[in-house]
Symmetry: D4
Subunit: 162 residues, 8 copies
């Protein structure tokens, strides 16, 4: 059994550069995670097994990235009660609009938390926010991040005046 908090999954190794944002984010926040290649369309049964076992394996949350007719986040959400964050990935010609609609437009009863196209960093951050519900440490880190982010902008603004 994994002791990791988050499972980051994606349908193909070629999605790794995009999903790297989530990896970096969780690393920055000290949230443990596993990365797995799990394809809804190429390994549907492995996906079922993975999703069904996710809770028992100790995961608290799943981040799933997918492009085109992006089924992975929605299917995983149908097989677990863990919160699932979906990252629509731009592949092919339609600029990620297909993936955005496939991830966001889930039917009543099976929720997916959709973030912006290719924005896996925000998926990581959203995971941290969800996990921080029961964790003071993570709460503090998120506040620090938010503050640092603010200060960086304020400094840019200040430097502009010189």
């Amino acid at each position: 059994m994994s002791q990791k908090k988050v499972a980051i999954i994606m349908g193909s190794k070629s999605d790794l550069p995009i999903m790297d944002g989530a990896i970096q984010c969780l690393n920055d926040f000290g949230v443990s995670f596993d990365v797995n290649i799990v394809s809804a369309h190429r390994t549907p049964e492995y996906m079922v097994k993975f999703a069904k076992a996710a809770e028992k394996n100790g995961y608290k949350l799943i981040i799933a990235g997918a492009g085109g007719a992006a089924h992975l986040p929605g299917m995983v959400a149908s097989l677990t009660i863990l919160p699932v964050i979906g990252v629509p990935i731009q592949v092919g010609k339609l600029r990620g609009l297909d993936a955005l609609l496939s991830v966001a437009q889930m039917p009543k009863g099976v929720p997916v938390a959709c973030v912006a196209v290719d924005n896996s960093f925000n998926a990581g951050l959203l995971a941290c926010r969800c996990l921080s519900i029961g964790s003071k440490v993570l709460s503090e880190k998120l506040k620090k991040f938010q503050k640092k982010q603010k200060l960086r902008i304020l400094k840019t603004d200040h430097d502009l005046l010189k």
Copy 2:
């Protein structure tokens, strides 16, 4: 084991009025079929079981209708080698564009035959065309249908002149 040629599946009973076009079509052509409510998101494991057993159960082809983030056709296609015809169904606010992209934009290796939004009759007809590859009888029926369709238009055109 079913002796039916085609499995018509959809995620919810509320899809039946739309999927009725496929039912009518197969009835017209004398192609045997079963109708099942199989939901990718609400009964994912039943869907896996259904899709995996489809070939052994004697089905030659699957017609799957779904709306919104329409995952059913694609997921079934990933679990069988039977041809899968997907019917994007318009539910909700985005006029079926979400379902159309979710059904059509499948990744390399897992094909779905997408027809027009809500056009389940064409899904039935496409099924007949596929099944006619090995069936003279069905071929003849399709030719008759095509001819009748043509004659109806020609008659309309002719009646207009009077």
Copy 3:
């Protein structure tokens, strides 16, 4: 200080019929919540105050519904570290596409969990999933819900055969 777990907010009382899905869902799951009318555009300072105080007021999660240039979810997310779930609401002529993009396409550093257009029930369900991370009771309820949902579909399927 509120002892409620979730804050459900929306920009106008006219959004209540749509946001009722989230209310029903949280009621069904026995998750306490408050409902507030907080408008990003008409009460921006109240929104700031509300969002900044949310954590201290005991909320664990915020569900925010908004239509058109839907700024409420994103702005609230920028003012708290609590997870924010955004519900794009269809108002006006563009079928909710404007709200969907305004809610989903958040920049790096400020995540919003976007659900489907008008699907506030899923926002409630996603909230329950997030809150279940630290709650066995809620986990069990989610499993029961998922099972009931499954059984309802299976029964529909079964009844169809008669």
Copy 4:
């Protein structure tokens, strides 16, 4: 008379690089095919002749690729009873959305099996699935392909752990 199983047609030689996916796929599966340049708009009568003779020429199925106002798949489908698979090709400025809608949105009575934009490999695979209805050999090859595809993903997943 051709003894080939599949006719792959496209409107212009410049479509060949995109349609090469279908060629590769059919080669991989040992399905015989012809490749023809048949333009709905530049050689409409040759198209009519080609489509009408397709069945007599021994073809079992037609794969048609087209871009822009992509009329080739739909027109061919109106002139034969063979199943027609349409590949929307991205040409020009609108990212293939024009071709996708022109191929998918066929009227009642004339079905086209639409695949994803530029995804001619899937058109080939869909053809194999249709032809496998009467062919044990092809069925087995499809299962092998599906398995290999699965194993490749599982291996990628496994290698990631090292």
Copy 5:
């Protein structure tokens, strides 16, 4: 042989209420015309015959209305050298966007004059403009129409002031 100047064609009798605008317009301008039901998808060979004979039959111009994957205007344009005006008709769920793109996005070498969705009156007017190139009478009528149209607006504007 018809002595009519314009052929108004459409794929189905159900398109008549929309195409009535063109009929009214040509009637108003005293331009002779025939109305025919010619379907690209249901009577492809009749369409070929019709389009090829159009010039010999004395037509100077063709107005073709079609919805969905609207192939009629483009196909007719490929089979004649007469100018073809295409009217995208809204049928089905996608608000006429599919028809607009199918009519407008023609490839190099086969032009169609596309007008606004459902705006068959403008197709009639455009036909009159084209035919007026060699006709003083028609030119004068067009000027009168333009003037009347102007005066009606000016009168509305004037009446508003009272």
Copy 6:
């Protein structure tokens, strides 16, 4: 007074590379034309003067190219009774969709003949078709062009077989 048949106009010299297709086409067909930079937005009064004088100046037809909020074709059409062919030009970020809608969606009473995005060659060809109504010579050239176009495709098809 110009003796040229066609006026090709565009809003900016930067549109010339796109509008060159129309120039080439008219040159190929021996149709005389003038090229003018006439901007709806930067030289509105010159545009009014130009459009109003077009008929008197001997032009039979106007081809107008424009991008973005492409007003030139529609405005010119409102100021003349000559047929106006509009070429939507892709400038900026929205892939020409803005120009396509601005050119095509004209109100009742003021028709524009819209061709495909950036396809000025077809605008030229459409002009030739319109002008051929009263010209045997041009008719013959159009038939020759159509035939040559057909033969080129047939030859490509034939060469493929070797």
Copy 7:
């Protein structure tokens, strides 16, 4: 010469119900205005005259509403140096997207201030904001409006608690 501050113009009397929002708004704020029917496409020369004389006629600002290929705001903006506020109006089938793009996507050098589809009230409000630059009285009214708007929301929020 009119002593009115704002000119509200639209292409047709049928636009009045939508443009009524601007009328109401200016009435509420005590800003004088005229309402005129001025059509870019049906009265282009009147439009030119109107726009060119607007400044001399004492207008400080123009609000222009238009639907479809909405040219009125952009054309007026090209003929005056007064600020022009454009209201895209939903007419026809494309849900106002055509008007939105035609109004918003103006080229460099000719600005239009675009508001939301059908939201003429905001056009009136934006006019008041622009006019308030030199007017203490109007500034105060705008602050009062903003405050009243805020209080209405706060009261709704408060009433909800009971």
Copy 8:
């Protein structure tokens, strides 16, 4: 207190190259301005402070640029009574459509003046038009600019003839 007329703000320094058009325009017209980095999402409270103080700080008008879920213009407009001009900036994959809808589709009561995607020059020009209401000098400059712009086009047109 700043004596500058216009505040140009944007969410990130990376927006500067796009917003440079507004800077150049105001420089050309001799309108004083400040440039600030103010992020709706990263410095929401600084934004509130900035927007609330804008009027007191002497600004007459605010230009705000933002991409993706572009909230800055709308939020600032909710916190001031100064006119706010929004520039939708193309970032990410959706070609600026997300930003355009987020900026333009504001609810009743909180107006933003939206210009074209990435067209910050027009935002500057629109600012000048608004400020010219009370300034003869600026009016004259705008007329000169409009004239120069016209002459440049006329000269291009003239040079073409040689």
